[in-house]
Symmetry: C2
Subunit: 359 residues, 2 copies
Amino acid sequence: MKITGLKVHLLEWERPPHHWRDGLPAGGPKGRETFLRILTDEGVEGHSTHWGDANIEELKWKLVGRDPLRIEEIWQDLWRNLRSSTFGGAIDSVDVALWDMMGKVTGQPVYRLLGGARNRLPAYASTLTLDSIKEFLDLADDVLSRGYKAINLHAWGRVQDDADLFRALRKHVGDDIVLMYDASSMFTYEDALYLGHVLEDLNYYWYEEPMDHLNLTALARLADALTIPLAVAEATVGGPFNALDHIMAGAADIILTDPILKMKGGFTGVMKTAHICEAFGMQCAIHGWMIPCLHVACAIPNSRYFESLQPEGFFIPPGMHTASTEIAPDGTVGPWEKPGLGMEIDWKWIDSHTIRTIE
Amino acid sequence: MKITGLKVHLLEWERPPHHWRDGLPAGGPKGRETFLRILTDEGVEGHSTHWGDANIEELKWKLVGRDPLRIEEIWQDLWRNLRSSTFGGAIDSVDVALWDMMGKVTGQPVYRLLGGARNRLPAYASTLTLDSIKEFLDLADDVLSRGYKAINLHAWGRVQDDADLFRALRKHVGDDIVLMYDASSMFTYEDALYLGHVLEDLNYYWYEEPMDHLNLTALARLADALTIPLAVAEATVGGPFNALDHIMAGAADIILTDPILKMKGGFTGVMKTAHICEAFGMQCAIHGWMIPCLHVACAIPNSRYFESLQPEGFFIPPGMHTASTEIAPDGTVGPWEKPGLGMEIDWKWIDSHTIRTIE
């Protein structure tokens, strides 16, 4: 079996405007995603979605003619040449697409091939940044009524407003609901420390990306001053090795990683990361709501929750139906028992929402 | 004075094919560069070249209407929002263009505004990867005859071939020439250790990027085992804060940084990096052969050499004439005493080699 080519669809569709914390650009009214197809001489395709730019000619130079099932060999080749940003942006999506292909060839869902620690796990409701405390409380009512038992806030990044929201939400949902907060890499040390103490007093479960994500030294200083677990390493590149650097620097209590974002190395990189974290007795929490995130979160034992962005499916191309948005009444979610990633692709939708193909 | 807009020219021109070490994609026969212009209501423009992608709409959202001379304020805004890759790819070029504008407004060359530790410094000849040892030795003869007293090798990344080249070059040039080696982030620990000992025996001056640049922990292990200075942090993102992380991890002997590449933060980021290095008694070596690199290398006291890629000007758009390729007979180089970066721009060349403009 040989890789014969790559095909990339740049997809665009209507999506409501949205925003994150102050300072970050708003999104919408178009959704955009890059859909990667790895083609073979036996007709089996591996699929993934893609972050970052990639030069398709350079990727073909690396991949065409190779056996797609020698995944670690291909991974090592791409990883050792990550200085080229082309491979950096592509290593995640290439690896995920190859594991999708391995699943299709073997007839197994990816989560089983990667270990299959369990077949479902609890989801946490992860918010967009809403406009008022009332909107956050209404959303909490909605998700709790649908079975969720954990909520992760993306708030404004304004110290007092965010602290007010933490207090209002804890009071509103009571003590039995798990609450988390994602600061999206913004605060100065003093502000991060203040908010960390507020979160500790309110028994929040984790404090995600409190400060500049590119500064382990300052993050370690904060980790030393706080008792609430810091969930970090989501926005940095470097996958398992960068995760180890966070741990060795004393900057992490929980490692956040993602199979399809930020040069984490796809499934292969996340599995290495999970094993390093396990050896340190540490959680390897999976960021993201796409189907690859669900597979690997079920595959490994040290990921406690699946991130479910609200409303479910907000960033997912409508023509790619998967299990990742199907939250059961008990608040759990699990991959379908279908080969590979288990994506039901509506090819008519893909065709009509492809603004450009590259191959 | 207000920023009124941005204009980006995507430039393309004929350039000979070339390659780096094994595993990295070859380049040419086209040269490509992105030329950034920051426009103001007073007609003064700030110029820079640009690495990585950037969403011009999001950059305009950050910049238009602001005072371009409040550089640190703009820098902090972009840096604190680097989670968006748009700003990540752009922070260097925006900052360099704003300092170019500051120079034009004040009538000073940038190297003076940034400190002006001296007005020239020695250049080292930095090679492309050539095809044979003989070609490297011939190049050495050429550059030494033109005044250079230091040579940095980009070799094949094959352990024995590279070691043979190290020995042949040392024997060829004698003991008084400074030699360096750039491994471009590739070797496993054992191979990196072996080559490090070879370099030590031959009295090479530095050992650049010996291993995976995304792994401080392993790099610190190597630094501990070798006496030759490791020059690192060139290919990682995160600028001054990442440089500090390298130092704190024990992974660096010399910090390599660059004002226009890899989210180092432009001149503002490099100055912070240089100051951190100075406090640790460490060199802050400037990577790169473009004119911004020359200005900042002269501005700071703890950069010993300027990197001059051979042949001079290889990657520089021919329509942008600057001082960075003018090596004096004594092997030194320095910026022109012109305001800003001192770029003589051939606008006819720019127009005829612009394949697309974005504004």
